[in-house]
Homo-oligomer: 320 residues x 2
């Protein structure tokens, strides 16, 4: 798993819908690297048989993985790499995800909707449509409590901004990480209700794994105070959608902001389209932008070339 | 202008709509201070003739000022003290404003609307009403340029948060102050167009003075790029409302978010109710909350008692 001994053997496949943009960015930094690039898995199979490096979208790469006989390292353009974790697929190569890139965008998404809730931005706009001068006082983030389901690189970025706005931050995670902006950590499903009890906002930034599936279900939702708002820019599989719709219909939760769903695009007959106090943002919280992702590939390529450990290496068994 | 020589003579008038809350907060910190409190200027005239200290709302205090014969210091609960600056009123006392208090709330207001613009929160909500999965990509604050009209305590708080989100910050002010978060300063009306030329957001946090009146007029608006959004949580008098409505109708400006107006409440027949890309928030950007303002009075009372200079002392000639 180290390219240092054969530095001239590297040949890179770029397989992504925005392959041309990624190629231009990589070429300008590494003009001597041999590159083949395409948007099409079928074309990739034809041109990339002897590539040892890959860079692209997990959903496309999963379709060509068995044909890349010489593959040794693959950099995903996405944070989530689920399509490459299917047990039927090979795992004899180094897989790295796009981590540490989405923190700022995810933070803008979450804080944007938290402030929209506190400042009643949608209600004020509705009043304005009626030419009604609406003096209802806004709330403030200061002193409110943010609960993070997951304290990885995105959770840590969010925690930092939450502290900037004077919020308290509680974290639910496997371990008490090194995030200095989390005031209190909670571990294990038996602490889930304690974690939820005092929250104004619950934000899910967990990966999709067997441990996180359905975690935001009846138990957790029942433990949240009725003033709480749930925000999910993470993975749809973490949510029990029926339980969430019921909680919102019953007014046991003040609101929810969802970017991800079990089925996407959200089917036209899905109950969420008619659920009150629910905002839907169509999987746009943090889009992969080549300008942000290419530097991560280039940094890892540099590490690869020098035989150093790669950043954001995926543990196939853990799932992220 | 110093109470130190007669510390036992202090008698405080509290005159505000939330007088009871202010009184409770002051009493709990200063149980021996003699206090009279009321919501009514008429009652104040009857009970407060021998008060040497005042604490309350400028609009109410202006109506009793001539009757407070022994007044020596007055703490405003508002940031703006215009009602007390009328040339017909006396100026033989120390006037202090509520400064340094509104920075966090104003910042939540401005950043909330900036993020709502970048994340298309209103458009996404409109799509949702039609059960339309809306994948339009959001923008980001990162790299955008914020222009501050006024770099006082509110402007500085806002600049700090803008830098937190990776924005560039330009400041227009009398002097190059000590705000480390402003990247470039511009001074004087002849630099106004240069200041405006590169902005994504123009935010006005200036006081109402003869120098600032109408500053956001045709010249400044014409110099802004069409992508720019104007946000005014400051003073309505700073804006030429007709020029702003014209710029928005003509699409020469991407949007405006206004909290303050020349006439408030905004009259039912005001053109702003029918101006496109304009959001109206009814003077709620940063409401005076007793919990935030009382500590400022208490700190200044401590300074007053010890003969030290007061914080946020108003210069009657300068107007703030």
């Amino acid at each position: 798993m180290n390219g240092a001994t054969e530095p001239h053997m590297n040949r890179l496949l770029i397989l992504a819908r925005r392959a041309a943009e990624y190629r231009a960015l990589v070429e300008s930094a590494l003009p001597t690297l041999e590159i083949v690039s395409t948007q099409s898995p079928d074309e990739a199979v034809a041109i990339a048989r002897d590539c040892d490096l890959g860079f692209g979208e997990p959903l496309l790469l999963a379709r060509v993985l068995r044909d890349l006989n010489t593959l040794r390292w693959l950099q995903s353009t996405w944070a989530g790499v689920e399509p490459l974790l299917d047990p039927s697929l090979r795992r004899d190569y180094a897989l790295t995800s796009a981590c540490g890139v989405f923190g700022p965008l995810m933070t803008e998404y979450v804080i944007g909707y938290l402030l929209a809730h506190e400042r009643r931005i949608l209600e004020k706009h509705a009043s304005q449509q009626l030419a009604h001068w609406d003096p209802r006082p806004p709330g403030t983030l200061r002193g409110k409590c943010l609960g993070l389901l997951g304290v990885g690189s995105i959770g840590s970025a969010l925690a930092r901004t939450a502290k900037h706005f004077g919020m308290r931050v509680h974290g639910y995670s496997r371990s008490s990480g090194a995030c200095p902006d989390v005031d209190v950590y909670f571990h294990g499903r038996d602490r889930l209700a304690d974690f939820a009890a005092d929250l104004d906002y619950l934000v899910c930034v967990m990966p999709n794994t067997s441990e996180t599936r359905g975690l935001v279900g009846r138990t957790l939702l029942a433990a949240l105070p009725p003033r709480a708002v749930f925000v999910n820019p993470g993975r749809g599989s973490v949510v029990d959608e029926q339980a969430l719709a019921e909680a919102l219909h019953a007014g046991r939760l003040a609101g929810a902001v969802l970017d991800v769903f079990v089925d996407e695009p959200l089917p036209a007959d899905h109950p969420f389209w008619r659920t009150p106090n629910l905002l839907i943002t169509a999987h746009t919280a943090a889009l992969s932008v080549p300008r942000d992702i290419a530097p991560l590939f280039l940094d890892n390529y540099d590490r690869w070339s020098r035989g150093q450990p790669l950043r954001c290496r995926v543990d196939f068994d853990r799932g992220y």
